[in-house]
């Protein structure tokens, strides 16, 4: 990390203090609510109340388990989003995070991968961490692959698709799930890891957790406090845009077959062949 050496960076001191995990979480429109795209901006209509991204709960759970193994560790939930998203941060605290950090600034609205990764990297740098965790995929597919961009900005090693994660001797050991099976990858701490939803079963918040959440420390940080200008955020800081929305091409007329005299199976095979599916 580029930041000034903080006490935790000293290995001995860190062992005494315990692992510090920053979990990047996101609020997305609730999975089961019908989602709408804002007809003006074509971005996800976030005026409806949202929920903590399901995938991020796995990252949070992993952070909590690591903290539990390492007495004295700390889990910080970091969220970039509008004011309203503070509810999701509160949920992260209820589930067990120790502190919450909310990057919130009007100028950030409409940020794409480039702008979002920049702001998150600055926030993480300012905060300091041994391990930065992300959930595998944002349910609203607006945040895919954020981790690799953030890691590059922080000049930290990144491992994604973690189906298991161990931390020992200043290193992480990750079982990464790819199309071809599992790789095992090691990287020194500090590093960035994106965890898949196969890695754990997220815990429910305990009642004590829910009721104690609002007493836990929550900090809100603006762009200026991160040392970023308006040009580096939102639309100005983004490098992609959405032009318009359309309905997906209809599947086309569906072909209908009746099983007359047992010929359906043959007709199916014909169909599949002609469509090069077998």
């Amino acid at each position: 990390m580029r930041s000034v050496a903080a006490p935790w960076r000293d290995r001995d001191a860190r062992e005494a203090i315990g692992i510090k995990v920053v979990v990047c979480v996101k609020e997305v429109p609730d999975a089961s609510a019908p989602k709408r795209l804002d007809p003006q901006t074509f971005r996800l209509d976030r005026s409806v109340a949202g929920a903590l991204n399901d995938f991020d709960t796995h990252a949070l759970e992993e952070g909590l388990q690591l903290r539990e193994k390492d007495a004295g560790g700390e889990v910080v939930a970091l969220l970039m989003g509008p004011e309203r998203a503070a509810d999701s941060l509160r949920k992260a605290l209820a589930i067990g995070a120790d502190r919450a950090l909310h990057v919130s600034d009007e100028a950030l609205a409409g940020s794409d991968l480039v702008a979002t990764s920049k702001a998150l990297a600055k926030a993480i740098e300012r905060e300091g961490a041994d391990l930065v965790l992300f959930g595998q995929q944002a349910g609203d597919s607006d945040g895919a692959v954020l981790w690799a961009a953030v890691a590059d900005r922080l000049r930290l090693p990144v491992v994604s698709q973690a189906a298991s994660l161990d931390v020992a001797d200043g290193k992480v050991r990750v079982k990464r799930q790819t199309e071809y099976g599992y790789d095992v990858i090691e990287a020194p701490v500090p590093c960035v890891v994106a965890v898949s939803d196969a890695i754990n079963e997220p815990r429910y918040p305990s009642l004590k957790g829910i009721m104690g959440a609002k007493k836990k420390p929550q900090e809100t940080v603006s762009l200026a406090e991160l040392g970023l200008s308006g040009e580096e955020a939102g639309d100005a800081g983004s490098r992609t845009e959405v032009y318009s929305l359309s309905d997906p091409p209809s599947r086309g007329a569906s072909e209908r077959i009746e099983d007359d005299g047992g010929t359906a199976a043959e007709k199916i095979v014909e169909y599949l062949s002609s469509h090069k599916l077998i």
């Binding site: 599992y182 845009e241 569906s254 199916i268």
Partner: protein, 320 residues
């Protein structure tokens, strides 16, 4: 436009998804370049040339031996800057996604992902990205160069156009921090068939099968097609099949090339888990089953009779 296509390799071959993207790029523009990054990959350049690349740039170096993203970001960043490519295309994969995003940060370049099509409109490159569970398509673009794009896996088919490419070796300069992640064990194929999320073919069973024993019909067909078995919530609820195979709102979302639904009525809770599938074939004896409203091939008939016959014919055809 000056297009560069990242061609991923695996076990001595160029990955099909990358070659598909290369074919598309070659249609958009002449003189497309492709890049191979690995160790012992120079031999693949010829095949890449045959699949549409006019130039193939190769960084063949032990530092690139393991399929890790960050060293590749280093090499690509240098390459894009020095050669002035304005467009870099990736076939979507676990590795490619990490590379593309790292590159976007490195170059402060726009990245649009999960694209299912690319087109040129008035000289501008426009991508098509499904959103909201594939229920809407967004036309997306870039406001600066270089433009980075991740294409949804399996969107384009490779085309062997013949032809040969000019091959150039490029240096592999990897930064220190990029070397810190180390591969300790390489992936080996898992023996039990594809997981439903990765499968190209899925055969799914629903309550219309009648009894848990009849799931063997689905399994046999899946095996014959080399695909995975999935189940609806109703049958998982009834204990016929495990939760890990459940497709739908409260299960997994899949988008295989071929989805064969056996005895599934297809209420919306199921639909949202598989509506992105390439081709949907539904077999159900109820002619009014909702699934027929969104399948490509609607087969009205008895699954118990049709599926075993289908399995036998498929085996014949595939010669297994």
């Amino acid at each position: 436009m000056s297009i560069l296509v990242y061609v991923e390799d695996h076990e001595g071959e160029a990955v099909k998804g990358s070659l598909g993207v290369l074919a598309k790029a070659a249609k958009l523009e002449d003189g497309v370049a492709a890049v191979l990054l690995g160790s012992g990959v120079e031999g693949l350049a010829e095949a890449v040339g045959r699949h549409g690349a006019a130039r193939v740039l190769v960084a063949d170096d032990p530092a690139l031996e393991a399929p890790l993203p960050q060293p590749r970001v280093d090499v690509l960043a240098k390459l894009v800057e020095s050669e002035g490519f304005d467009t870099v295309l990736f076939g979507g994969s676990v590795l490619a996604a990490d590379i593309a995003a790292g590159l976007a940060a490195r170059l402060d370049a726009g990245l649009n992902w999960d694209l299912v099509d690319l087109e040129l409109r008035d000289g501008k490159l426009v991508g098509k990205r499904p959103a909201l569970g594939d229920s809407v398509i967004a036309d997306v673009g870039w406001t600066s160069e270089p433009r980075l794009a991740l294409i949804r896996s399996g969107t384009f088919e490779p085309v062997e156009s013949g032809g040969s490419a000019e091959v150039t070796r490029i240096p592999a300069e990897v930064q220190d921090f990029s070397k810190q992640a180390v591969m300790v064990e390489r992936a080996h194929e898992e023996s039990q068939g594809p997981s439903i999320e990765d499968a190209d073919v899925i055969v799914a069973g629903g309550r219309g099968l009648g009894q848990p024993e009849n799931f063997s019909l689905v399994e046999d067909l899946a095996k014959a097609l080399g695909g995975a078995v999935a189940a609806t919530r109703a049958v998982v609820d009834a204990g016929w099949y495990p939760y890990s195979t459940q497709v739908g709102q409260t299960g997994r979302t899949v988008s295989p090339k071929l989805y064969i639904a056996c005895g599934i009525s297809g209420a919306i809770q199921h639909k949202v888990g598989m509506q992105g599938s390439g081709t949907i074939v539904a077999i159900n004896k109820d002619p009014n089953a909702p699934i027929f409203e969104y399948s490509d091939l609607a087969v009205v008939g008895d699954v118990h009779e049709i599926v075993p016959k289908l399995t036998a014919l498929v085996k014949e055809k595939r010669g297994s």
